[in-house]
């Protein structure tokens, strides 16, 4: 670790590399440590889930990697270069679909192509042809073919979330950040979207960092699960998920799967209990 620090900005292999990152909010008096001495490495093509109680800094890690938040201490490398200096393509989906209400679904999905290089060059020319087909093809994959002309408010929550996933993936991101994107959906829609998400990942193999508090979701989707604790936020366990892909929802009823989620659950409950004793 020290050696890694010494080499500074030298290129390295992992897509995400957090080195002893601290994030604190507030001043001297009411200082809140959102993230303490956290190190996390994610290799290319991995699907990593962050789980933990609320306030443990899951979303903080996501914001750090997305570049919308700066660390108080430590370094964050994305594709080998310090955050901010790199050209990595990031796709992100949030808990709310956050679709733009004045654009129809297809234009919403095409939005990243308008912003992100190299796609944005010649956007005006390609938006009627190549990009439009690209968006329609992706929409078809999530079961939204024929809905391109609709506006977000004409779609159900689950459908909006599918469109939001399409928007996160349209520009072939190297890194996909998911901030509880299935959290606000009902159980059946959620399971449906897990399957869609898995298929998209198998096909495009982006590196994924998923924040969730649903352990079943983490175990179903991820290849690696990091458990976090709160106050101060840190990663306390890092385990791989062995199940073969493509996983079906039936996997979640197998003994191995159940015991994995049980174990993670106990872990989280335990750190929560300790925290409550010493407020």
């Amino acid at each position: 670790m020290n050696q890694a620090l010494a080499t500074g900005v030298a290129p390295r292999n992992p897509v995400i590399d957090l080195e002893r990152v601290n994030v604190t909010f507030g001043g001297e008096k009411n200082k809140t440590v959102a993230l303490a001495e956290t190190s996390l490495r994610i290799e290319k093509g991995e699907f990593v889930a962050l789980v933990g109680p609320s306030g443990c800094g899951k979303s903080t890690i996501l914001k750090l990697v997305a570049g919308t938040l700066s660390p108080s201490e430590g370094h964050i490398f994305v594709t080998g270069r310090e955050i901010g200096a790199n050209e990595v393509r990031i796709g992100m989906a949030f808990q709310n679909p956050t679709l733009l209400p004045w654009l129809n679904i297809r234009d919403n999905v095409m939005m990243p192509l308008k912003i992100v290089p190299p796609f944005k060059h010649g956007y005006a020319k390609k938006k009627k042809g190549e990009y439009r087909e690209r968006a329609e093809a992706l929409l078809a994959k999530v079961g939204l073919s024929g809905f391109g002309e609709k506006f977000p408010w004409q779609l159900s929550g689950g459908m909006q979330q599918r469109a939001s996933l399409c928007r996160a993936l349209i520009h072939d991101p190297t890194l996909l950040l998911l901030d509880e994107p299935f959290g606000a959906l009902d159980q059946f829609t959620r399971e449906e979207l897990w399957e869609i998400m898995q298929n998209l990942w198998i096909e495009k193999k982006p590196t994924v960092l998923l924040v969730t508090h649903d352990l079943k979701e983490a175990a179903y989707l991820a290849s690696r699960i990091c458990v976090m604790q709160a106050r101060p936020g840190r990663i306390i366990e890092d385990s791989t998920v062995p199940f073969a892909r493509p996983r079906t929802i039936d996997v979640s009823f197998e003994p191995d799967f159940v015991s994995l989620t049980q174990r993670l659950r106990e872990r989280i409950v335990a750190v929560r209990a300790v925290k409550e004793q010493q407020p």
Partner: protein, 258 residues
């Protein structure tokens, strides 16, 4: 009859009815047309003296539209600045509030001093009148943009200008059009104030001359023209608004257009 048509017919009847009532009350109590002319007298004057009134009406339309255009331009630019910069907000807002509290009649003489009597002070007064609501609304629209929408753009590493163009401005459109309807009517007020004080053309001037010669029906004809112009402009902006910002009211017309 469809409920929609029914509603329209009913409202048209009520509006027409109020004029009929006005007419009837004037006739019943024998109100002198020096005090309150009947609507038919005003309309008769309007039609019979149309060739004389028309150049004045045209002048008023012209100055109002130019003033409104300038007001929109300056208002939007200033609103964008205030809405996206904290410093600009702190500096410009108190100044704007102070400035808009000044009665506009008071600044017309100053404008006349600078530019001479005539068209220019009228245009500038119309502009000054309509800038404030536009600035306030555009700034509010920009400042109240959901941070989640901006986060979407920020993770894509969009520049500030791209965020403004793709999120801020479309998001602000409903606010902008709401202010435009207020601004359009205020612009007429501004023009007429300036014309009354310092001009030899325009409806304001016409009404002033008419009232000084006790031609009250002509004064009312002028008022009718102003009201009519205001309503027309309002309708035009409403129509544009329905097309551009239908998403905000979730109108089905918008969907079929889009």
């Amino acid at each position: 009859m469809k409920p929609d048509t029914r509603r329209r017919v009913l409202s048209a009847c009520c509006i027409l009815g109020s004029f009929v009532a006005w007419e009837a009350i004037c006739l019943a109590f024998g109100v002198s047309d020096m005090v309150l002319p009947r609507p038919t007298q005003a309309v008769y004057t309007l039609v019979s003296q149309f060739p004389a009134i028309w150049p004045h009406a045209f002048q008023t339309i012209y100055t109002t539209l130019v003033g409104l255009g300038l007001g929109i331009l300056i208002g939007v630019l200033l609103g964008m600045l205030i809405g996206s910069s904290r410093l600009a907000y702190d500096v410009a807002y108190p100044m704007l509030v102070g400035f808009s509290s000044i009665p506009k009649v008071a600044i017309v003489p100053i404008l006349v001093l600078w530019f001479g009597a005539g068209t220019v002070p009228a245009i500038l007064t119309a502009m000054v009148m309509c800038v404030f609501p536009i600035v306030v609304n555009v700034a509010t629209g920009l400042a109240s943009t959901e941070p989640e929408l901006q986060d979407v753009m920020r993770t894509l590493k969009a520049t500030k200008l791209e965020i403004l163009w793709n999120i801020g401005l479309p998001r602000t459109m409903p606010y902008f059009f709401a202010s435009l309807k207020v601004a359009a009517t205020l612009a007429f007020v501004g023009t007429v104030i300036a014309e009354t004080v310092a001009s030899n053309r325009g409806i304001g001037n016409l009404m002033m001359i008419a009232s000084s010669s006790f031609d009250v029906p002509l004064v009312f004809a002028g008022l009718f023209i102003l009201a009519g112009l205001g309503v027309t402009l309002y309708i035009v902006f409403s129509a544009i608004e329905a097309r551009v910002t239908g998403w905000a009211v979730r109108s089905d017309d918008f969907v079929s257009n889009g």
